[in-house]
């Protein structure tokens, strides 16, 4: 069987590593099509992708999918984003303001009209607009680029992930599959995908979810017919169930410079979307921890694990104040993804040797649960939006898996109990959420079996025939024009302005220099005009400005004498040059 696995970028290879290996082991041919090139991802992921492809050499290849820009692509993106935006203005998502903002940011400003509608009418209007955009999606033709990609690779089955990005173009692949009658599956990449991102806008033949909760979300929130949803378990975490620590506690603590006799608390940082500047929260938490009445907590080792995808905010963890709050280590310093043997060991050992895990709202808590570690969080004002404002946060609080505190005092009490008392079991949560078919039943074989089962699937095809779509498409022309005006032209306009500014600034710089130079020459009488002006007395000769002073200002130093000498020498050299 030939499988085309469409992924947005190489980050998703990590989520499906076990599935890809399994499919290749079962002699299927897998083509992983990345929409964005591997060059844009961190080097470690590039290495991981190369290694994965090399390991499954005869059966797997990673290719870049061609860019799809068509007449309707901009319009389609805006309509999809509008639909996603409308989603967050209706129950049960109306509290997810951050998600709404994210969706809104993708829209051109004329389509942001929903904010102008009175709050009490917003839900109804959003529902209506959502339905209209859903209808428009049906009408829009399948992208020719996506069809060509499918023709080129000629797969038996197509899998798409993540599909639910705001205004995602991957919908084109699902629609192309419908048009070409190729079985298409949507692989839900993570536990939060169905609640804090976009809608599933075209109906895949199969939707692979982790558990019953996601199954409900797919049916109730995305309108997927239940017979198309397949529960597989969380295949991404299969590796952790059998993983063994590579280092003893003593060696691990020694390497990190921690005291092995003290308990370890692991702080797992969240993604930028959940909390942009997490260091403030961590400092507050650490201060409370160090001021705790419980001696064990006060002296506990703290490991802070930065979020692997938060490269932009990684520098926040270099804060000097962390070092003043007892034994605190940021490990790994640059927040690695667990994709190589070393980084996996680091991650696993951190989880394995810790007594409890603390964080705001992150997937690392699920991995901690697999190892039987309880997780704790605090609902504080600065971070509450990333917790209670996210529907998926409720998954963590089920079965008492995540200890939620409303204040730091309550949180410290919970931590004390966890460290001193009997640690509570996380097995129920893991069984329900990650391995719904039992703790011994891994998700990967189920996932693979379900993919294989798609081979002989009878594909329904598009509900709206292509000819009808083409006839109705002109109705969408106003949106296309708006998009062209405000998005394409806007973008190009912005580019032009930027370019003009750059040119202007350069010309300005050169112009000012030129004028200054002429002025100087004139005053020195080295130009004809200067000579004339000077001779008629309009211009008095001025002594040449001492260059040292300016240089002295430029490079202040504690020891002025040698600097002055150096500066003068330097200035002379420059002048000569």
């Amino acid at each position: 069987m030939k499988i085309l696995f469409v992924m947005r970028n190489a980050h998703y290879l990590r989520n499906y590593e076990s599935v890809l290996n399994g499919l290749c082991r079962r002699h299927h041919r897998v083509v992983v099509g990345l929409e964005f090139d591997t060059e844009t991802v961190p080097a470690e992921l590039r290495r991981f992708a190369t290694k994965l492809a090399r390991r499954n050499q005869s059966y797997m290849e990673i290719v870049s999918l061609p860019e799809r820009r068509s007449f309707w692509s901009g319009t389609a993106r805006q309509l999809r984003a509008l639909r996603d935006y409308c989603r967050y203005l209706q129950p049960p998502h109306q509290e997810s303001r951050r998600c709404a903002e994210r969706a809104k940011s993708v829209l051109i400003w004329p389509l942001r009209f929903m904010t102008l509608i009175p709050r009490r009418l917003r839900g109804t209007t959003a529902r209506l607009v959502g339905k209209l955009t859903a209808w428009a999606e049906q009408v829009l033709p399948a992208s020719r680029g996506a069809k060509e990609a499918l023709r080129l690779h000629d797969p038996d089955v197509v899998l798409v992930t993540p599909l639910i990005d705001i205004g995602s173009d991957q919908v084109d692949y699902v629609k192309a599959c419908q048009a070409m009658r190729i079985p298409c599956g949507h692989c839900v990449a993570s536990w939060d995908n169905l609640t804090n991102k976009g809608l599933i806008k075209a109906l895949p033949d199969r939707v692979f979810v982790w558990n019953g909760a996601q199954e409900r979300e797919a049916v109730e929130l995305h309108g997927i017919p239940p017979e198309r949803v397949r529960v597989t378990g969380a295949q991404i975490f299969d590796q952790w169930f059998d993983y063994k620590p590579r280092r003893s506690r003593e060696v691990f603590c020694q390497q990190l410079g921690l005291d092995p006799a003290r308990p370890i608390l692991l702080y797992t940082a969240s993604s930028v979307f959940i909390c942009r500047r997490e260091i403030d929260f961590v400092l507050r938490w650490l201060a409370a921890l160090r001021a705790s009445a419980d001696g064990q907590l006060r002296d506990a080792n703290v490991i802070i694990r930065p979020h692997p995808k938060a490269a932009k905010t990684i520098d926040q963890w270099n804060d000097q104040r962390l070092g003043e709050l007892g034994p605190v280590v940021v490990f790994p310093r640059r927040g690695h993804m667990p994709v190589s043997a070393r980084t996996r060991d680091d991650y696993f050992d951190s989880l394995f040797h810790c007594a409890a895990v603390v964080g705001i709202n992150t997937s690392a808590m699920l991995e901690a649960g697999i190892l039987g570690r309880r997780c704790f969080t605090i609902l504080l004002d600065g971070v509450r939006e990333g917790q209670q404002g996210m529907v998926h946060f409720q998954h963590l609080t089920r079965d008492g898996f995540l200890g939620v505190a409303n204040s730091l005092e309550e949180h410290l009490r919970q931590l004390s109990q966890e460290i001193e008392g009997d640690p509570s079991s996380t097995a129920d949560f893991v069984r329900t959420f990650l391995r719904p078919y039992g703790l011994d039943q891994a998700g990967t074989p189920i996932f693979i079996a379900q993919i294989e089962d798609m081979e002989e699937l009878a594909v329904e095809g598009r509900t709206v025939p292509a000819w009808l779509g083409w006839m109705l498409c002109p109705l969408l022309l106003p949106i296309m024009l708006l998009n062209a005006l405000f998005d394409d032209l806007g973008r190009r306009g912005r580019q032009a302005v930027r370019l003009a500014r750059r040119v202007a600034s350069k010309s300005h710089k050169h112009g000012v220099r030129a004028v200054r130079r002429i002025w100087r020459l004139m005053r020195q009488g080295r130009s004809a005009l200067g000579y004339v002006l000077r001779s008629i007395g309009l211009l008095s000769p001025v002594a040449q400005a001492p260059q040292q002073s300016s240089l002295q200002v430029e490079s202040p130093s504690v020891d002025p004498a040698p600097v002055e000498t150096t500066s003068v020498a330097e200035a002379k050299r420059r002048q000569v040059a």
Binding site: H28, M180, A458
Partner: protein
């Protein structure tokens, strides 16, 4: 009249035996042409030696440059046939054909979306046209010229081999009318597509007639429901032994009820032995609180094709009230064997099985037949069309249980004698003898063969038009198919065993409720 009966092998001819005897009895010359020798040919040899006007011969195979192309064409046509929406609920047939389809065809089907709708129908139509344009094999034509039959009867026609289509092709070329005798009750729904439009299609009943029209697009006027001639003997047979003697032979007590278990051929026979199921069934029977069931005599009749499964004497756990008989399984192809089988059915108080044609025989004898739906045998039960004919609550006669408790309750009801045999009788009237219970189907079939032989007009093969073009297309495709097969480095489809294994795995998954 000279009638040529083309059989794949002698085993298939057994169903046609009453028809052959009837034709011989009417004084016709009957030539039986076999594509394969062996396969229980004794009865044919005996027939040849005893009847003056009977002859057994073998037909040459097609051996020319079109042989491979014709074979692949047939696979592709059958695959496209099973891709039809009617077969969505029968994935097994589809997958089985998929493994035989050349890589090139798979690619073209995907690329041009030939799996669905009018494109699929158009592709079938075109391929049938191409198939009909292929010239007949000279050897086969010479063979028929030599024998000069008035009519050709083919059975089973549908199946993995291509030989019999070559007979139809040659017959059409020579202007000999053809009768397609449907071999069994599942043939039209699970074996492939009937092509080349025989002059007459002799089906068993109205259900098969509907299948021939709807699934095979054969003209209604050429389809005749003659009844199920293989079962003619069952309407006349009388028990050879009384109950006491019969049970004495089996070694079972005569004062207890007798339950007969009929083993089935089943798909995936190797990966799904029926012995395990029978053992389970027996254990549950013995654990039943009703003494009539727990202490009933049990007779297990192995399927002739899978007799080896019951060679192990310990399989049934040394149950003194259970016997496997005949221990090696046997085809009822002689009077003695037929009598023994009839006695088994006749003296049984209840019959149990998964899905086998012996259930129809039990219905003719008037015995209540039970079955239990098992997930592991889903592919042989609910995922087939023909099972639904027996299990249909209105028209069928099977007492279907979805759980063991239900099965035991139904058995209890049957053994208490509260069940009437009306439904079984109605089924036999509709399915086995649709015209009249007293009229032999073999006689009707013989009449139909005679009528077809007298029919002057033989439909030609439409592919003769544009032959040059279609054959050059076929040749080009054949060379491309060879190239495509050579370049493919991975397996396009899974083996049936893998498929079955996967289905079992997925079916066995049960979500843990926490």
């Amino acid at each position: 009249m000279r009638i040529y009966i083309s059989l794949q092998n002698a085993w298939y001819g057994k169903n046609l035996e009453p028809v052959i005897l009837s034709l011989l009895h009417r004084g016709h010359e009957v030539i039986v042409g076999l594509c394969e020798q062996g396969h229980e040919q004794d009865w044919l040899d005996k027939l040849e030696s005893s009847a003056r006007n009977a002859m057994v011969t073998s037909v040459p195979d097609r051996r020319d440059r079109w042989t491979r192309a014709v074979e692949q064409l047939r696979h592709v046509i059958d695959y496209l046939h099973f891709l039809g929406p009617a077969f969505d609920s029968v994935p097994y047939s589809r997958l089985r054909r998929r493994g035989e389809v050349p890589e090139l065809a798979c690619r073209l089907i995907r690329r041009h979306q030939l799996r669905y709708g009018w494109r699929r129908r158009a592709a079938i139509w075109w391929l049938k046209w191409v198939d009909e344009s292929v010239p007949p094999d000279a050897g086969v034509v010479d063979h028929f010229r030599e024998h000069r039959p008035d009519v050709l009867v083919v059975c089973p026609l549908l199946g993995p081999e291509i030989g019999q289509y070559e007979h139809v092709r040659a017959a059409k070329y020579l202007g000999i009318p053809t009768v397609y005798a449907v071999h069994s009750w599942d043939n039209l729904s699970s074996k492939g597509l009937v092509r080349m439009k025989p002059e007459c299609i002799a089906v068993w009943n109205e259900i098969q007639k509907r299948e021939a029209v709807e699934l095979h697009h054969q003209p209604k006027g050429r389809i005749v429901a003659t009844g199920a001639y293989p079962f003619d003997a069952w309407f006349e047979t009388k028990p050879s032994l009384n109950r006491t003697d019969f049970l004495k032979i089996l070694g079972l007590p005569e004062d207890r009820p007798l339950i007969l278990y009929l083993c089935s051929a089943l798909y995936f026979a190797k990966s799904q032995p029926e012995g395990d199921f029978v053992r389970d069934w027996l254990v549950r029977l013995r654990a039943c609180d009703d003494l009539r069931i727990s202490e009933a005599g049990v007779m297990i009749r192995p399927h002739p094709k899978r007799a080896g499964e019951f060679a192990d004497r310990n399989l049934l756990g040394n149950d003194p009230l259970a016997v496997v008989w005949p221990s090696r399984g046997e085809m009822p192809n002689s009077a003695k064997r037929h009598g023994a089988f009839f006695d088994s059915l006749y003296h049984a108080d209840a019959v149990v099985g998964l899905n086998t044609s012996a259930m129809i025989e039990a219905a003719i004898v008037g015995r209540p037949v039970h079955t239990i739906l098992e997930t592991r045998y889903d592919v042989s039960q609910q995922s087939t069309f023909h099972f639904s004919y027996l299990s249909d609550p209105k028209e069928g006669f099977l007492r279907v249980a979805t759980s063991w408790e239900m099965h035991l309750a139904q058995l209890r009801e049957t053994l208490s004698g509260s069940e009437s045999a009306t439904q079984a009788a109605q089924f036999v009237d509709a399915f086995v003898r649709p015209h009249c219970r007293e009229r032999k189907a073999s006689v009707l079939m013989s009449d139909e063969i005679e009528r077809t032989a007298r029919r002057a007009r033989v439909l030609g093969l439409s592919g003769a038009l544009l032959r040059r073009f279609t054959l050059s297309w076929l040749e080009r495709m054949q060379s491309r198919a060879v190239a495509a097969d050579a370049e493919v480095r991975w397996k396009r489809c899974q083996t049936l065993e893998q498929w079955q294994e996967r289905r079992q795995f997925l079916d066995s998954l049960e979500r843990v409720a926490v």
